[in-house]
Symmetry: C2
Subunit: 119 residues, 2 copies
């Protein structure tokens, strides 16, 4: 695994996750999926997504990110808790490794984080 392929795939995954995130936001009331996937958009977009979920009555929201977006996920959590919803509790922070299959059939590992906030 070279850093280059890792980066390329991290970028692809992020795009996929952003699309997923938009779908989730759109069909939120139907699916009740309270997961915000962090991609490469400005941090405040995701902060607003999390705050909106809690304002819509969610008791728990999960922030997920992979690769280079992990730093942004921590930013989102810190901004939500420190600036907008100071009463939130941190239920859990977990890290993991996910395996992706590259186009040439090789496999790359990418780190992931999952932060669960609750009212």
């Amino acid at each position: 695994m070279t850093l280059t392929t890792y980066d390329i795939y991290a970028k692809k995954e992020v795009i996929a996750m952003e699309n997923e995130s938009e779908q989730n936001m759109g069909t939120n009331e139907v699916k009740m999926e309270n997961i915000v996937y962090i991609g490469r958009k400005p941090t405040m977009n995701y902060v607003l997504a999390v705050v909106t979920q809690f304002n819509n009555g969610m008791k728990e929201v999960t922030i997920k990110a992979r690769g280079n977006s992990i730093s942004r996920a921590v930013d989102v959590k810190e901004i939500v808790v420190n600036r907008f919803l100071p009463d939130l509790k941190e239920k859990s922070i977990k890290t993991s490794s996910e395996e992706l299959t590259n186009e040439d059939g090789t496999r790359s590992k990418v780190s992931a984080i999952q932060i669960v906030l609750m009212k």
Copy 2:
């Protein structure tokens, strides 16, 4: 706080942290400080630093990072646990916000992570 100043200061801090990290590694046996600060060097440098600490008899090692290095800190933890020392336990993962004073006197916030691994 604009994203630009944030980035500039994150970069400055990282350089400071790398120096600090090198000092810690050099004087480790004297100070018994088992903290590995993650900067912008290759991930495997930090992986080796953590593995070495455990091999030198440390029962607990703390991985710390700020700003954009947070993603690398998670990579380090995942590689150490999955590839080198599978018996390690994750004692805690905490995130926080730290405030830095810029050269012009304004203050910027930067996210930080602290991962504690134990035997």
